[in-house]
């Protein structure tokens, strides 16, 4: 690849101006004439049979245009084909405090809320399940009849032979790790505007990461063919997984719009966002690890229980990721995994940045430090001794094509001053190290098919403007800019010439969505293929005119020139005009489907984990611990991320910093607090996300391993750096004050309790 003009350059996002000036339009900014305001009635009970719903008084209220209950939309749905267990409005049972029971559309929000107060629901409360370990033992009152003992799914995988592995080990450690529940906390609350069109069609503008799946689900629940529904994604103010499955308000607004034959908008309150949830589950990890005295890992065994809440959602995928990605970071010959996804009477968990891997990685990287201490090894050296030899395929069938982890480790160790600092930072200060990785999209689609995962179209007409049509969903991660960069690079034009039309099911071809960090790799490859096809269409006529081969030509600086500098020079506009002779508008298409050999094994659950490529990350964190308050201050983070190639280093830096920030929040302060199924902190005041003031200096280092199959060698950048942040902080606390915290979040109370226990033990030992 020659010198590049757009790829690899720091470029402001194409939607940045709209966002920072406030002119950008998110779903809640949209309104249309005659629009109604929708509101949803939620269950006050964690588990209750619904005997009846009386909506008469609500319907009679002036200004109310439609009231819907479960009977208006009885078709069950769910993001996974094996988990269609949700209804937009409960039909027979409410399964958590906040479950959706009825919905109202009225001429003002005040009237809609008043109408909710007039709905009478006759509930028969049922015994409820809140603790996953208790729920697994349930003999009756199962949350879903068909899910015995409230177990949504369980998986048991064994690769190699862990018994033999542990027998070969010189050091074997077992411990339990607990991670509290966290949520995405995207700045934009979910919002949907559903417009019932005069021609009996439905147009839905929604804050979604997955317009295509929303399209399918609306078709099923509203009982309309997909061809009569259009889904449009406006600007989205952050997703992080919280908008990556169908959220009840999207369906409720559509059902109400169809019933009222009017446009209906619903925007969640922040509290409702917490009930819609789909965040990272409470996770209990029982981990066992063995190493030789030389520091080679011989076996790893994990039993992982996830508290999934009341519905399936992405649950089976979450638990499978937690097992599958025990592999593909280090070389581990023997791995055993027992995973349980358990139902409880709380809002449904789902995909959240670092889906499934984060809590298991916290346990694993913490234990690596613990066992390194036992064996008298430097924790970084222990990691160095267990690197993969890529390219390779792991025992569970994951194909690793590019592997920048060694460089990540070395550069972080160097930049952070690891060797000089570990154990030497002085009283109350410490440094910790950890690694992580993530998929660049799932090699197997959620709904199995042999169609490509993405298609991108490009059109050039007489204005010589380039319009790119992609179904990919910009959610703040840089998807739109990525498309523009790729096309501008291939066609040798300024980015300003490229206009992107994205995520509108009427205009753009299907992309599966913005989840599992798939967009750069998959939509990027489709876009690259489309641009190359377009390039061939433009260069062909130019080559014929100048009587040369297209291979002799290159496109750069808005012109077509000979590679060897001889003869040909034609402006982009003229070249396009030439190509359109007898053809009219130029249209090109590109697609992407992961190669067969990337799709993994054949065992039950093998479909989750395989990816065309994996990102790698290493981090060092410095903390200061106040021994008297237990407060932990994260002071500095050095994070290296192998993203294959940084198409836009500016956004890669942003993604790495955002991932570290989010991991830090989970590590030290964020947690959803439950009392009998009731969320005690459904607000940004009480669910304490860090702000910029609590966020340390985060130095990101971009490592480019140039993936053989990624677009320009790129792979994911948005998620992989999250998981390392949490154990790196725990490891730094250990370095600072000598206590090992195995429960997250690492609150001051927990640190103080551990410090006091340590003091007691030391006193006891001295006696």
């Amino acid at each position: 690849m020659g010198e590049m003009n757009v790829i690899g350059k720091r470029m402001a996002m194409t939607d940045a101006r709209a966002k920072v000036t406030g002119l950008g339009r998110y779903a809640d900014d949209l309104s249309v004439p005659g629009m109604l305001y929708g509101r949803i009635l939620h269950s006050p009970h964690p588990h209750a049979r619904i005997r009846s719903v009386d909506t008469l008084a609500a319907e009679a209220l002036e200004g109310v245009k439609a009231v819907a209950t479960g009977r208006d939309a009885p078709t069950p749905y769910g993001i996974l084909p094996i988990g269609h267990d949700e209804r937009v409005l409960a039909l027979d049972k409410a399964r958590y405090i906040g479950d959706n029971v009825a919905a109202v559309a009225a001429t003002s929000p005040e009237i809609a809320e008043e109408a909710l107060r007039l709905i009478r629901v006759d509930y028969e409360p049922l015994p409820a399940w809140f603790d996953p370990l208790e729920s697994m033992k349930a003999e009756e009152n199962w949350i879903h009849e068909k899910r015995a003992h409230n177990i949504e799914k369980e998986y048991h995988h064994h690769f190699g032979n862990v018994d033999e592995g542990f027998a070969q080990a010189d050091f074997v450690l077992e411990d339990r790790y607990y991670c509290g529940e966290v949520t995405h906390a995207a700045m934009e609350p979910h919002s949907t505007l559903a417009v019932w069109e005069p021609n009996e069609r439905l147009t839905v503008y929604s804050s979604t990461q997955v317009p295509f799946y929303l399209h399918r689900t609306l078709s099923a629940v509203c009982e309309m063919p997909m061809s009569r529904i259009r889904v449009v994604k406006p600007l989205v103010g952050g997703g992080f997984g919280g908008k990556s499955e169908i959220i009840p308000l999207e369906v409720a607004a559509s059902v109400l719009a169809k019933k009222a034959r009017r446009p209906v908008k619903i925007t969640y309150t922040r509290e409702e966002v917490f009930y819609a949830h789909r965040g990272r589950p409470i996770t209990i990890v029982d981990l066992k690890l063995g190493i030789t005295k030389e520091g080679r890992i011989t076996a790893a065994q994990a039993r992982i229980v996830q508290d999934g809440g009341a519905y399936c959602g992405y649950g089976p995928v979450t638990v499978l990721y937690s097992g599958a990605l025990l592999n593909a970071l280090y070389d581990i010959p023997n791995v055993k995994f027992d995973g349980f996804r358990v139902l409880t009477n709380k809002p449904a968990c789902g995909a959240m940045r670092g889906h499934g891997t984060v809590n298991a990685r916290f346990a694993f990287e913490s234990m690596l430090d613990q066992i390194a201490a036992r064996a008298g090894l430097d924790p970084v050296e222990l990691r160095r001794r267990n690197l993969l030899k890529a390219p390779c395929t792991t025992p569970n069938g994951l194909r690793v094509t590019s592997y920048g982890l060694p460089e990540c480790i070395e550069r972080v160790a160097e930049r952070s001053g690891w060797a000089e600092k570990r154990g030497k930072l002085g009283k109350g200060r410490g440094i910790g190290f950890a690694c992580s990785h993530y998929v660049s999209g799932a090699a197997n689609p959620i709904i199995r098919s042999n169609m490509p995962h993405t298609t991108v179209n490009i059109k050039i007409d007489r204005d010589a403007g380039i319009t790119v049509y992609s179904g990919a969903s910009e959610i703040g991660q840089g998807s739109d800019t990525m498309h523009v960069q790729i096309v501008a690079e291939v066609l040798g034009v300024r980015p300003e010439r490229v206009n992107l039309v994205a995520a509108d099911t009427e205009l753009t071809p299907v992309d599966l969505g913005s989840y599992s960090s798939r967009v750069t790799f998959m939509a990027g490859n489709a876009c690259l293929n489309a641009a190359r096809n377009m390039r061939a269409q433009i260069l062909g006529p130019v080559a014929r005119q100048f009587d040369c081969e297209t291979d002799d030509l290159e496109m750069r600086d808005e012109t077509i020139v000979s590679k060897n500098g001889a003869g040909v020079s034609m402006s982009f506009d003229d070249a396009v005009a030439l190509a359109m002779v007898g053809e009219g508008a130029l249209v090109a298409k590109g697609t992407y489907a992961p190669p067969e050999q990337a799709r993994g094994g054949k065992f039950k659950g093998a479909g989750v984990g395989p990816s065309p490529s994996y990102s790698y990350s290493a981090q060092a964190v410095e903390v200061k611990v106040d021994r008297e308050t237990g407060q932990v201050k994260v002071e500095r983070v050095v994070a290296a991320h192998d993203c294959g190639r940084a198409l836009n280093p500016l956004t890669v830096d942003g993604q790495v910093q955002g991932s570290v920030y989010m991991g830090m929040g989970q590590a030290v302060q964020e947690e959803m607090v439950w009392r009998e199924g009731r969320l005690m902190n459904p607000s940004f005041l009480e669910y304490r996300l860090p702000t910029t003031l609590e966020t340390p200096q985060i130095e990101s280092i971009i490592v480019e391993s140039i993936d053989p199959e990624g677009p320009f060698g790129a792979k994911e950048a948005g998620e992989g750096s999250l998981a390392a942040a949490i154990p790196a902080i725990a490891n730094a606390i250990y370095d600072a004050v000598g206590v090992r915290i195995t429960d997250v979040p690492i609150t001051p109370e927990r640190v103080l309790a551990a410090l006091r226990a340590k003091e007691e033990a030391e006193k006891g030992g001295a006696r």
Binding site: P44, E113, T629, M680, T691, L693, E749
Partner: protein
């Protein structure tokens, strides 16, 4: 979230405000900066018929300070104005330290000292949406008959969560209150009733007009230490304000310690004043006062942090504040809480 319907009245004088408040009684609510009232209205904690917006009353604005009457802050003085008042660090460092710790810059720009001194008490079981509270059948303070913090009890334990009040207690502030019967001045300590349900002693038609701090308590060293998760925005989980005068020989000439967020009222640690006065620094004495502080603090499960931890921190923060103020040559420099 929508708000309940109400009428807004904008009086232009204190007399007019008092008249409107007296006429409407419990149906009326005063709004100034709105940082406390608006979210509470959205949560339907109140449904006033009349909202009395006092922002147009000029008499309620501004800071005056001289060696005759001391400090007078009009009730509408914003927390930012106090934080940026050029003499605050020299004259009343404990006040500067406390107001700078309130919420975030946006709230300090909007929020007023009068409003901060009249803040609603807070509780995890109370400061929730209408839906949330109703799912629980309400609580003692609102639409229910059970206290979820102390079940079986008939007392509301919602905590005092204002930061400026404990600071002003340590400099013996007084409140100027206007009412149908004219003006009155009361010590700030008498304003608080230590009842989560009925937090302040304001009668029908009464309005806080100004805060006064006597000259005699100027130049005390002082600091407010606040336990919170985020330095950027949080209400206190516990707060300790200390102001003291130390002479050239290191002898304490006056001292006050007050607490926030561990009782339904901001509270002075009464033993501190007499035990500290006339004494030289000693670690034992400081520990003794810290112990008195936790005897005054009665934290319950009204906020995210545990009562045990909050008591521990009240003791620690009291100790740290006293050590810092007593042992430095000029003890009004502020350090971060914790």
């Amino acid at each position: 979230m929508t708000m309940p319907g109400f009428r807004v009245i904008r009086p232009s004088s204190v007399d007019e405000a008092v008249r409107v408040l007296a006429d409407n009684g419990p149906e009326a609510m005063v709004i100034a900066g709105g940082t406390d009232v608006v979210p509470n209205l959205q949560m339907r904690l109140f449904a006033p018929r009349v909202l009395v917006d006092i922002k147009g009353i000029g008499e309620l604005r501004g800071i005056t300070c001289n060696d005759r009457v001391g400090l007078r802050m009009g009730a509408l003085t914003t927390l930012t104005e106090i934080a940026e008042w050029k003499f605050v660090e020299r004259c009343f460092p404990v006040l500067g330290s406390a107001v700078r710790s309130v919420a975030g810059p946006l709230q300090r720009n909007m929020g007023t000292i009068g409003g901060n001194l009249c803040l609603e008490t807070r509780c995890l079981w109370y400061n929730q949406s209408e839906f949330w509270r109703q799912s629980l059948g309400g609580c003692l303070k609102k639409q229910g008959d059970v206290c979820h913090v102390a079940p079986g009890g008939q007392r509301c334990w919602a905590v005092w969560s204002g930061d400026s009040a404990p600071a002003l207690l340590t400099v013996e502030a007084e409140l100027e209150i206007a009412g149908p019967g004219g003006r009155r001045r009361i010590p700030l300590a008498e304003f608080y009733r230590n009842d989560g349900m009925n937090r302040i002693a304001l009668g029908r038609g009464e309005l806080v007009v100004a805060v006064h701090v006597p000259v005699s308590s100027a130049f005390r060293r002082g600091v407010y230490r606040k336990l919170r998760v985020r330095d950027s925005i949080d209400y206190p989980l516990a707060g300790v304000a200390v102001a003291m005068k130390v002479d050239g020989q290191g002898i304490c000439r006056a001292a006050r310690v007050a607490l926030a967020a561990v009782n339904p009222a901001p509270q002075l640690v009464h033993a501190a004043a007499e035990r500290l006065e006339g004494k030289r620094y000693s670690a034992e004495l400081v520990e003794e006062i810290a112990h008195e502080a936790i005897r005054t603090a009665k934290p319950l499960t009204t906020s995210a942090s545990t009562p045990v931890y909050r008591r521990d921190m009240v003791r620690l923060f009291t100790r740290r504040a006293l050590e810092e103020l007593w042992q430095t040559r000029r003890g009004n420099g502020e350090k971060r809480a914790g």
